[in-house]
């Protein structure tokens, strides 16, 4: 088990390096030198050069000039030498910044780490209730539908799922906002900082639940159907157990593995929030930050957020695998 965990931990390293390479190529190599953009149109050459130096755009992409680094090692000691080595090329700088979580400043000169920390709270207050509520609703509906398989109820639910899946996500948001906030005036249209957050997130949460009902219900229905067809269910019914006991004590417990996998793997995405819902209802979370940075072409923020999300997902994948190995003795430690 320990060897397995260590091996899985070591396997994280190439993935993290890969993510760093992708973000580097995307935002630095293809994205290009944007110091002129930061400095503004009327900035003089000196200011631009200063910003170029601050963000390291004046260095080569990968190759490090070793001569000054060696000199720095000799003259200023190990620490300064390492520093000049990591400042030597844009990729090493990118690597160092990401690993030390020091992402520098955004284009509006605010610290990126502060921006991200500020956004986590609002995002979670939107996504956590939405996630829990839709999980409870979809799983109980899926159980009911699996129990009533082959009936008109089952067929109707499947049809409803396909219909819900086919409506564009944006239409749910825009029509929901138009009808319930603008026309009927039941909820606030936009987040108002003077009001409590809980009031503003009700409508986005409801919309999010409805929008996720289609794909969620379809997935859990398949999971439940796989279980309900198995022999142990027939045995349990033959023993004379009631439907309630069979469904909740037998079927649900056995369906737990795919459900838990699905739940754990969606957890990191909760932190990211919902890009579109936050954008429409003005909730100042991470999704909002993301959309803003896209509109402002702020590659520094995008880079930091992409890396943080990827890191979270890597860690959660690791946790899932370890839990798997721990819970299910059939998993082999290859």
């Amino acid at each position: 088990m320990t060897a397995y965990i260590i091996r899985r931990l070591l396997y994280m390293i190439p993935i993290v390096v890969g993510v760093l390479l992708i973000t580097f190529v995307l935002f630095t190599v293809i994205g290009g030198d944007i110091s002129q953009q930061i400095a503004g149109k009327n900035a003089d050459a000196e200011t631009v050069a200063e910003i170029r130096a601050e963000y390291g755009f004046d260095k080569p992409y990968f190759k490090v000039e070793m001569a000054p680094v060696r000199e720095s090692f000799k003259e200023d000691g190990f620490k300064a030498g390492m520093k000049s080595f990591f400042e030597g090329s844009q990729f090493l700088r990118h690597f160092k910044n990401a690993v030390t979580f020091n992402f520098g400043r955004a284009m509006d000169r605010q610290k990126i780490s502060e921006k991200i920390l500020q956004g986590v709270g609002p995002s979670l207050s939107l996504t956590v209730p939405m996630f829990i509520a839709s999980l409870i609703i979809t799983i109980s509906l899926a159980l009911a539908v699996a129990f009533l398989r082959g009936t008109a109820w089952d067929f109707g639910t499947v049809v409803l799922c396909v219909i819900l899946m086919s409506v564009p996500y944006l239409s749910f948001i825009i029509f929901g906002q138009y009808i319930f906030a603008y026309k009927l005036d039941l909820f606030p249209i936009y987040y108002n900082p003077t009001e409590p957050m809980s009031f503003s997130v009700i409508l986005p949460i409801l919309i999010g639940i409805v929008a996720s009902l289609g794909p969620g219900l379809r997935f859990y229905r398949t999971v439940m159907l796989d279980e309900i067809r198995s022999d142990y269910v027939r045995t349990a019914f033959a023993k004379g157990l009631t439907a309630r006991v069979v469904l909740f004590k037998h079927v649900l417990k056995n369906a737990m593995i795919p459900i838990v996998t699905n739940v754990v793997m969606s957890l990191p995405r909760l932190v990211l929030g919902s890009l579109l819902l936050e954008r429409f209802f003005g909730i100042p979370g991470l999704g909002y930050l993301m959309v803003e940075s896209i509109a402002g072409r702020d590659f520094f923020v995008l880079n930091a957020m992409t890396f943080m999300m990827a890191l979270l997902i890597v860690i959660f994948t690791l946790l899932t695998d370890i839990c798997y190995a721990w819970v299910d003795p059939r998993v082999k430690f290859e």
Partner: protein
């Protein structure tokens, strides 16, 4: 005597075998509803094709007076700003008709549009029709790019294993680690406005390139798994004994046998591309010079405050019908093509 044994022997009639494909098509034909959905999808494709041809003709024969098919001339203004659809009069006192003065004439005209107009007075109906071309182009090109990357990579990884496999698996695991929407937006953002190999990436080109480059992971993983499963089978062994090269075995023996998986994946992935195009256009990363469903939904954000609901509704319905048809047809296709997945 004469009826006991026939004097002339005829060769037994050869029994015609049924291939996987003819079998699947036969099964699919029985599903009336799936065929209706297939017809709807084809309608969208034909519409996109006709608009494309019409546009090309207009480009080449524009000076000679070819104006194009009226229903596809979305640029013209056909009425005043935000003229309501004519059937609004069905339940409101306000008539759907309007009088307006076109820019190029002084006389007042009376007219009506069945789907209303937008801010510039362009017809919502024509814009919706044109949106089909934008969406289908993006989805088809994105699918092709992602298949072109994913299928060979998956097949090679599964066939050779070892170092090659490790590198390809590392590549797609890394890509899969980044949330899809973020990756897609990042690609679309950095590719927009760039020039690659002399091809300027404007509008739709950047969108489908970004989608294609980010969405090959799923098909690559599937094909790799299937190739690993099948590369020890007899027909591969026979091909190798005949002296076929590795490439021949991969592309002429293994891939045709997993082709149905590619088709199923393609049909279900297509919906995702259409919906992603809507989101990208909405975020301002998509086609901006020409009408698209995402662009129409984006415009609706400001329009709804003035109770202009028709543009939003038209775009939503357009996306809804093709997604619904593709979802149902894709499911039927999977049931018919993959016997293992068939549920009785």
């Amino acid at each position: 005597m004469s009826n006991s044994t026939p004097t002339t022997k005829t060769a037994p009639k050869p029994i015609k075998g049924r291939s996987l494909w003819s079998d699947a098509i036969r099964r699919l034909r029985k599903r009336r509803f799936a065929m209706v959905c297939f017809f709807i999808v084809m309608l969208y494709f034909v519409l996109a094709g006709v608009i494309f041809v019409d546009e090309q003709l207009k480009e080449s024969f524009g000076e000679k007076g070819y104006q194009g098919i009226p229903a596809f001339r979305w640029k013209e203004s056909v009425g005043p700003s935000y003229a309501p659809p004519v059937w609004k009069s069905l339940w409101s006192e306000e008539p759907g008709q309007f009088t307006w003065t076109p820019e190029d004439s002084d006389t007042e005209e009376t007219g009506w549009t069945s789907f209303g107009t937008d801010f510039l007075g362009q017809s919502t109906w024509r814009k919706t029709l044109y949106g089909a071309k934008t969406s289908i182009t993006v989805a088809v090109c994105a699918s092709f790019i992602s298949l072109l990357i994913g299928v060979p990579l998956g097949a090679i990884a599964g066939y050779y294993r070892g170092k090659t496999d490790d590198i390809i698996v590392w590549l797609y695991t890394t890509l899969a680690t980044i949330p899809y929407l973020i990756l897609l937006m990042a690609f679309a953002l950095v590719l927009k406005g760039k020039t690659v190999f002399g091809i300027p990436l404007r509008g739709a080109t950047a969108v489908y390139l970004a989608m294609g480059l980010t969405s090959w992971v799923g098909i690559c993983r599937l094909i790799r798994g299937e190739v690993i499963k099948r590369k020890e089978s007899e027909y591969v062994l026979a091909a190798r004994a005949m002296g076929c090269s590795d490439m021949r075995i991969i592309f002429f023996h293994l891939l045709p046998n997993v082709f149905h998986i590619i088709i199923i994946n393609f049909s279900l992935r297509f919906v995702g591309f259409i919906q992603a195009e809507v989101i990208l256009s909405f975020l301002g990363l998509g086609e901006t010079d020409k009408p698209s469903w995402g662009g129409m939904i984006d415009a609706a954000r400001t329009e709804l405050a003035r109770d202009v609901w028709w543009e939003m509704t038209a775009a939503t319905l357009a996306v809804f019908f093709i997604s619904l048809a593709l979802n149902i047809f894709g499911d039927a296709l999977r049931d018919c093509l993959d016997p293992k997945l068939r549920v009785d």
